[in-house]
């Protein structure tokens, strides 16, 4: 009898431990995404507040004995006055920061590279790149490091330079193109319910530029016939208008709210993205309202 009791107690303890582990696992998995999203939203908020900088043209094509210019735009937001300093040198590739020697025949300069910046201003410096006949063809990456005294600055950036002899390498100019994605293309909810999803813009070599998101109701996916959004369906996106810099991820939250009077059915929304000087994109989100 005692043996059976001990055995049963053991089984119960094992079951309890297993259930606790399962519960912990499922809780972690369920809450993982929201936590990640909160982090992404917090990072986006920070990107809209702290000083930022970005190069205007990130991919330049040059032949021998040519010169190209691009620009570095610096937005102080509410920080400053403080000294700004830029350094620019060659690295192995995008996202690398370790300096490697400049090749013969490639020179780069940035002007001005040191100045005092005031709050709420935008500053532009000119980056000049020159090649001469000693330079071998290929792709070179330059890294620009920006500092702003005691203030945090999200301003590091990269320029890729394709030096052509006769060959031109296809594809490579666009491998860091900006792109964005809705996290869900379909949402199902009951009348009276509210749900959230997200859109993340990966700016890549896009920016600096203003980003605008707009939403329309359309008759069908890929269709252009617009319909009025019915009373009882509210879709908001926040942030929906902001300045974006390069090589960052900007996440916005879409909130879909239905009233209890909203008719059940399928509502198709066209989600439009405009990234100034960079891209114009459209995605579709299906709202299924069912009891």
């Amino acid at each position: 009898m005692n043996k059976t009791k001990k055995y049963l107690t053991g089984v119960i303890v094992i079951l309890a431990i297993s259930m606790t582990m399962f519960a912990t696992y499922f809780y972690t998995e369920r809450t993982k995404k929201p936590n990640e999203m909160e982090r992404e939203l917090a990072h986006t908020k920070k990107l809209l507040e702290v000083p930022v900088g970005s190069i205007t043209d990130h991919f330049l094509v040059l032949r021998s004995e040519e010169m190209r210019e691009t620009y570095y735009m610096f937005y102080t937001r509410n920080s400053g006055p403080e000294k700004v300093n830029y350094t620019i040198y060659r690295v192995r590739g995008v996202y690398e920061k370790e300096e490697i020697p400049m090749p013969d025949g490639l020179t780069v300069s940035i002007e001005p590279s040191e100045f005092v910046a005031e709050p709420h201003k935008k500053y532009t410096s000119k980056i000049t790149i020159k090649t001469n006949s000693k330079l071998e063809s290929g792709i070179y990456t330059l890294y620009l490091h920006a500092s702003f005294g005691k203030y945090e600055l999200l301003g590091d950036d990269w320029i890729r330079i394709e030096v052509l002899d006769d060959y031109s390498i296809p594809g490579i100019s666009g491998v860091y193109s900006p792109w964005g994605q809705l996290h869900d293309n379909s949402i199902t909810l009951k009348p009276g319910e509210t749900k959230e999803t997200y859109y993340t813009l990966h700016t890549g070599e896009g920016g600096p530029g203003n980003v605008t998101y707009t939403l329309f109701r359309v008759r069908k996916e890929y269709g252009e016939d617009r319909l009025p959004i019915p009373k009882g369906l509210t879709v908001t996106i926040e942030p929906n208008k902001f300045l974006a810099r390069s090589h960052e991820d900007y996440t916005s939250k879409l909130t879909i709210k239905t009233s209890s009077e909203l008719l059940q059915g399928k509502y198709v929304l066209s989600f439009n993205v405009y990234f100034e000087n960079e891209m114009k994109g459209e995605e579709w989100i299906i709202i299924n309202v069912e009891s």
């Binding site: 201003k121 060959y167 390498i169 594809g171 490579i172 666009g174 491998v175 193109s177 990234f275």
Partner: protein, 372 residues
């Protein structure tokens, strides 16, 4: 246009210096960069800036004031659209063959107002690509007095202005698993009157979501300044690239671009472009790009693109197929779902017209449109 010219001619007055009134000139005739009858001469490359308060200021290329005038004190003329406008809104251009008017972003550093920007400036280029004149409006203008250096529009600054990059594409991003992507397309019309160094590429391609690398079977225009179409299989990263031997192709030939993932041993992408039984082939290095979480495209790319004369005709990718291999076995393949989205480079629009991505049939048919 004829109506406007008729009205202008009807003014029948010789180019005369403007009267000065409290530092404002009185302009009675439309502007022109030539010293002709019935016009008011301003230097070539001038920027005509219309302020919201009714003042029009003309700046020279360096941003120095040429003249200031009040629109209320200038005569009005009837435009071809039947709208009465002050003459300061008119420019006697005599559009020369090869000249071009574009609407785009323009910046000028002025001596009196700092940097002025208009994202919808009218820019008229002469046939040699120099600027004849620019018209800007204050609408949406934000003064930037602390800009450190002169930053006029990059297009104007680059000397030989040109675009290099992906012009437009269809895309499906972050595809969870793909082992085969096939696309057919016909060789389109060659660029109508290309500059010697402009290059175009049309391809179906795959890259990792983190970017930086690509595998693609490519239809090339003017590679090696050949001034012709060639087809070649490529892989490329930001540090290295390889390609197969080229094959010659001609207008209206059908080419087939194939991307196949060899998952055995050292997994790698095999890239082939076919014309009939001729092909160009290259293998990407092992592990260069995997078969999961990748971006899938059809692309029109250009280098040294100055205007519509440098890009080919429309290209339609058709009979596109997408598979995953079960157990990595190509003979046991299943179709996967691809949903194309559209992407057009907004900077390319400063140089090109008629750009559009048409999803003719999901996911097997996509048209990349140009003005040609």
């Amino acid at each position: 246009m004829m109506a406007a010219i008729a009205v202008i001619i009807s003014l029948l007055i010789v180019n005369v210096p403007a009267e000065e009134k409290e530092n404002f000139s009185v302009v009675k005739y439309p502007f022109s960069a030539k010293k002709t009858m019935n016009t008011y001469y301003i230097p070539e490359g001038s920027i005509i800036y219309h302020y919201n308060d009714g003042v029009t200021t003309v700046y020279n290329k360096e941003g120095k004031i040429v003249l200031k005038t009040k629109d209320s004190e200038t005569p009005k003329i009837l435009t071809p659209l039947g709208i009465e406008m002050p003459v300061t809104y008119c420019f006697q251009g005599n559009m020369e063959r090869g000249s071009k008017v574009v609407y785009g972003s323009f910046r000028i550093h002025t001596e009196d107002k700092g940097v002025l920007i208009d994202d919808k400036a009218l820019i008229e280029y002469k046939p040699d690509d120099s600027i004849l004149y620019v018209r800007m409006h204050e609408r949406g203008w934000k003064p930037e007095p602390n800009i450190v250096i002169d930053h006029r529009d990059q297009i104007a600054q680059k000397g030989t202005r040109s675009f290099s990059g992906w012009i437009e594409r269809s895309q499906d991003l972050d595809v969870s698993l793909i082992d085969e992507f096939n696309a057919y397309w016909r060789v389109p019309l060659s660029p109508p009157s290309p500059h010697y160094n402009s290059v175009n590429f049309l391809f179906n391609g795959i890259q990792p979501i983190s970017g930086g690398k690509i595998v693609q079977p490519v239809l090339e225009w003017n590679q090696l300044q050949s001034h012709r179409w060639t087809a070649r299989a490529w892989w490329a990263s930001t540090t290295e690239s390889r390609c197969g031997d080229p094959i010659n192709v001609y207008f209206w030939d059908i080419v087939k671009g194939c991307l196949e993932y060899d998952g055995y041993g050292q997994p790698r992408w095999q890239v082939t472009i076919w014309k009939g039984s001729n092909y160009s082939y290259v293998e990407a290095p092992a592990g260069f790009i995997g078969d999961s979480h990748v971006d899938v495209f059809t692309v029109l790319e250009g280098k040294y693109i100055q205007n519509d004369n440098d890009v080919p005709g429309d290209a339609t990718f058709y009979n596109m197929t997408f598979y995953k291999y079960i157990g990595g076995n190509p003979s046991n393949k299943r179709p996967i779902t691809i949903i194309w989205g559209k992407w057009i480079n907004q900077s390319a629009k400063n140089y090109l017209t008629g750009l559009d991505v048409k999803i003719l049939s999901q996911p097997d048919k996509v048209k990349l449109c140009t003005a040609n």
